[in-house]
Amino acid sequence: MAATQEVKPSNDTAVGTVVPRGGFIAAALTVLAAAAAVFAAQHGFSAYVVTLLALLFINAALAVSLTLTNGLTGLFSLGHPAFMTIGAYVAAILTFSARRKGSMLPDLPEWLAATELSMLPALLIAGLAGGIVALAIGGAVLRLKGHYLAVATLGLIIVVQGLATNWDGITRGGAGLSGLPRHVNVWWAFGFLVFVVALTWRMKFSSLGRAMMAVRENELAAECSGINAARLKILAFVVGAVLAAMAGALLSHLISVVTPKTYSVLLAFNIVVMVVIGGSGSITGALVAAAAITILSESLRPVEESVGLYGLSQVIVALCLILVLYLKPAGLFGSGEPAVVRRLFSGRKEP
């Protein structure tokens, strides 16, 4: 129980445990300013750009959520797309119009075929589904370390893809579900990003976050100082999976389609690249890297299409990663947040 008890914000004055009010006001002002910018963008730019902005927000949320699992706790998981796929299908089946479900998905149980939810409950149930799956397999898979965990989670993506491709009556197989209601706009994505960043920030700068980092640095030493590493790893894995499943639900309702291949190994690679380039464990880093990579690959898309060089942006992303591994192996911001960000939002120095 040790880990869960530490979650509660305590009133002790240990360095960095309490987020001072100054930090909260700065955060609220930043969110308001960002919201104003989103509002301006929504009215000043084309629908295409606004959709890209929503995509950027969701990518950033994905990267930040992976910061929790891979960056802070040091679990090298590539499983995000697996949980995104689960979340996307669960939400899609819940929001799909009951009329079309009858003919398209014959194997659904009757009560599910008759259900037609709005986005918010569907989103929450999707997150729950991702969390339950992560909990079920986490106990087993998290006994693996380093690249063994990476490959096992990579395998998980393929297992989920295989199920989605072959479970015709529930998922419509390889064709996937198209024509999902477009419930998600840029505000959903923005709200989700704010939620993920706030949650991750709050976790990182608490005793829980420090315990996670202790497990990352030296699991044995962390265990010796009374941290229940296994429980903590499960927690980080499950929270990451819940957020990934929700992101999958949001993305599929933004682009109005989900197929077994929508969330692939390539996506896992791209999210990991964002975390590594930003610096494992750095929330600011994940945000900056996610924005940079999303903008880079989207701005290269017209080039790819006009010259016919499909794959160019992905080659450039891969080369960027190799370059960062050469020059700055710890990523842009290491494991911390830049001084300015820390001063603004924490009100005091990071220990």
Binding site: F76, I137, A140, V141, R143, L144, K145, G146, H147, Y148, A150, V151, A152, L154, G155, L156, I158, V159, G162, L163, T165, N166, V265, L266, F269, V272, V273, V276, L309, Y310, G311, L312, Q314, V315, V317, A318, L319, L321, I322, L325, Y326, P329
Partner: protein, 296 residues
């Protein structure tokens, strides 16, 4: 043995040969530098497209085999020198991400150059006929694949256990620093391991087209992952284990598809990776490795 079962067996051994060739190189590289090399599967693709180019150019088959071995070796050495040598000694996870990056870069470069359109190529008609073997018959392609693979593996064992290079490789795998102190040219030995492993993977690519008739720029990814599964089955780092793992995986896949009802055949890869996760959990050091190697 019934005709059907015999054909399945040959088919499984041929598929297993494809996996074994990839898995052996994968395992050699892991054994020596402790690097899970995800770009290794893409050498299968490079081998397959090199074969296509050489066939189109009208090069005779025995020469094609030699050329493909050479091309694979050169490609492997290039990757090692440019990308993996500079990050040698970095954490395992850094190495892993780097190999993933190389794999994605190779796949997408191939997509740019070759386009995603699958290409057809086949072994010559003489090699595609069926031959009788004591009352049952099998595809000659499969038999050629099995025989050539076993010959190559025999050659590899000769190199590893009968030459100075092989001794150096085994010494480096045992303890890199100690090997260097004893006068082993470690960099050259690692380069040689990449060259040999990559050459074998490229030959697997040569067989790929012959067996499946179709190749595309992304074909290397799944064999790369399955080579890892094969290594895990046999015990990562052991060459014999990788070979056994490859054959077990090939047979298991074919039996899974051949013996279960039709509607399950789509679940083949799902089955393979569930198998992986189960073996990792139950016998993390592989089915054939006695001592418990640390898995961190």
């Amino acid at each position: 043995m019934s005709q059907y079962l015999f054909q399945q067996l040959i088919n499984g051994l041929a598929l297993g040969s494809l996996y074994a060739l990839v898995a052996i190189g994968f395992s050699m590289i892991y054994g020596i530098v402790r690097l899970i090399n995800f770009a290794h599967g893409d050498l299968v693709m490079i081998g397959a497209f090199s074969t296509l180019a050489l066939v189109t150019a009208g090069v005779p088959w025995p020469l094609i085999l030699v050329f493909v071995l050479t091309i694979g070796a050169i490609a492997g050495m290039t990757i090692e020198t440019i990308v993996f040598r500079p990050i040698r000694g970095a954490s395992q996870v850094t190495g892993f991400i780097a190999t993933l990056a190389v794999s994605i870069a190779i796949q997408n470069s191939a997509l740019m150059i070759l386009s995603g359109q699958p290409r057809n190529f086949l072994f010559p008609a003489g090699m595609r006929q069926r031959v009788g073997l004591g009352g049952v018959n099998a595809s000659l392609t499969d038999i050629v694949i099995i025989v050539l693979t076993l010959a190559l593996i025999a050659g590899l064992f000769l190199i590893v256990y009968r030459t100075r290079l092989g001794t150096a490789m085994r010494a480096t795998a045992e303890n890199l620093t100690a090997a260097r102190l004893m006068g082993v040219a470690v960099n050259r030995t690692i380069l040689a391991a990449f060259a040999i492993g990559s050459a074998l993977a490229a030959v697997s690519g040569l067989f790929w087209g012959g067996k499946f008739g179709q190749i595309d720029p992304l074909l290397g990814f799944v064999p790369g992952l399955k080579a890892f599964v094969a290594c895990v089955i046999g015990g990562v780092g052991s060459i014999g284990g990788a070979m056994m793992g490859g054959y077990i995986l090939g047979l298991a896949e074919v039996l899974f598809v051949g013996l279960l009802p039709q509607e399950f055949s789509g679940y083949r890869d799902t089955f393979v990776f569930l198998l992986l996760i189960v073996i990792l959990l139950v016998r993390p050091s592989g089915l054939f490795v006695r001592q418990t190697e640390e898995r961190a």
